[in-house]
């Protein structure tokens, strides 16, 4: 029984790009039978989007008020209840995927393969360890489904043009009642989404204040880019946490990445290894960021960035 289950992610209106990337990652398994399951309270719009992703055979919609906000404790037992029908259970390595899938894997009784960056065969995968300083090839033992998260930065999104069947499914588990969603704050910036933007402009500690960060926002706006940041900039409160790029923030793969006033610590570089072209602007010619940048410009960012914006 070779059959893939992908847990789709959405905000009630739009399918998260991580889902189409997961479908693309799963294509390396060479298994044609691919289901996407969606949990939500109103799934019509996102189900249609998921059905259009090329390579998806079936979209299963599990509609229930409990799923208005995804909670791992509520959804993991649903996935475990479905697991018997599948050889592979995958989702994107978003914060939701990281929260949810290990809980399901434990209920199924298997170890999870985290952050799959390459599919070698149906049970063999490459994944990064030590902040990306090493890549390990892991084999999943026979006898149980493969449960894994797909490192979204390693795969392009699967194309559109699919016409999957949409099938309503019943919730099989109960609300354990011990975990409640209260609210979500932040997000809603007007620029493109950091995780999927073509161009990302990140600022570091060198910006010095949230007011000074305006030079980064302004350049990003001019270029239609998303704004990112180093941990130091987030810790200092210049920008909110969801903009952090790196080992413990977002792992991204834009076509063009600007690291501005960022030294290039290994934990930051982990987040941008798959970027197409990296540009570094730093006043210290010895900064490690220049070792991996495709183009480096040594100088004061507060002179260079406005000049760049004007010249574009």
């Amino acid at each position: 029984m070779a059959k893939v289950l992908i847990i789709g992610e959405h905000d009630g209106h739009n399918l998260n790009p991580a889902t189409a990337k997961t479908v693309q990652g799963a294509s390396g398994l060479h298994i044609d039978d691919v289901d996407v399951v969606l949990f939500g309270s109103d799934l019509d719009a996102v189900a249609a989007q998921a059905a259009a992703v090329a390579g998806v055979q079936r979209v299963l919609t599990v509609t229930h008020d409990d799923f208005a906000h995804p909670l791992a404790a509520r959804i993991a037992p649903e996935i475990a209840a479905m697991a018997g029908d599948y050889s592979h259970i995958l989702t994107g390595s978003t914060t939701l995927g990281k929260d949810l899938l290990p809980r399901a894997a434990a209920l199924i009784g298997v170890n999870q393969v985290s952050d799959i960056m390459e599919v070698l065969d149906a049970r063999t995968f490459k994944r990064p360890i030590y902040a990306g300083n090493a890549i390990v090839t892991v084999q999943v033992p026979e006898g149980a489904p493969v449960v894994g998260t797909i490192r979204t930065a390693s795969f392009a999104a699967a194309g559109e043009g699919g016409s999957a069947e949409i099938v309503a499914a019943e919730a099989r588990a109960e609300d354990p009642g011990h975990t409640r969603f209260v609210r979500v704050e932040g997000g809603g910036g007007d620029g493109p989404d950091l995780a999927s933007a073509d161009i990302v402009i990140s600022g570091g500690r060198a910006l010095g204040s949230s007011d000074n960060f305006a030079v980064i926002h302004s350049l990003a706006k001019k270029m239609g880019a998303a704004v990112g940041a180093s941990r130091a900039a987030v810790d200092a409160g210049y920008v909110p946490n969801e903009l952090q790029v790196g080992q413990t923030g977002k792992i991204i793969a834009p076509d063009l990445y600007f690291a501005i006033g960022i030294s290039g610590a290994i934990q930051h570089l982990t987040g941008i290894k798959d970027a197409g072209t990296i540009v570094a602007i730093n006043k210290d010619a010895e900064a490690p960021i220049f070792e991996i940048a495709d183009f480096g410009l040594v100088g004061d960012l507060f002179e260079i960035v406005p000049e760049l914006e004007k010249a574009l």
Partner: protein, 248 residues
Amino acid sequence: MKILVTIKRVVDYNVRVRVKPDGSGVETEGVKMSINPFDEIALEEALRIKERGEAEEVIVTSIGGNEVQQQLRTGLAMGADRAIQVETDQPVQPLTAARILLKLVEKEQPGIVFLGKQAIDDDCNQTGQMLAALWGRPQATFASKVELADGKATVTREVDAGLEVNEVDLPAVMTSDLRLNEPRFVKLPDIMKAKRKPLETLALADLGAEPAADLVATAYEPPPKRGGGKLVASVAELIGELKNKGLL
């Protein structure tokens, strides 16, 4: 209430890890080892909860060989009351770790089990969620703020969209994110005091946790190198290069 904090011994975050030339693993010989930074943050949070009078005891635990006693002693020096080493000379993968921790949880009955959100060596980000599943209790992962009241915790979590607030009933599993707190520095007298605090060693076999089928690592390799770049002398030259590549 007791708080159980897990501590993993990992290669220090400042070390640039290298893959062995024969691809059999990564070089860890003679490399500086430390408490996983996320676990240090988890411990700091547990200590602050105790110092606020909301918990009575903080227990640190680590699964591993006798070398992990070093990190447990550091945890005791930070302020934990006692330590438990679960002794094994085999590395344990997340599901097995979670099954072992569940046995400790049954024994100690903590109100909170605090783990790091990920270990910086294997970067799995699984163990806490797995423990919560096996225990049938809530998980508040990637926590950046924890408030306790009336047998419940209100936890702010760092998620892709921003900050998500969840309310969970205790007992519960929590995993720490980087901005939860800044861990304290250990002072010399505390290190001396820690030597007298209890450190119990349990044989893995005595706990009766069933090991899970492990993933098998078949090869290690260094990551692909990015081609070295070049320095440009001016903004105009930079724009020219980016235009050449079709990026502007």
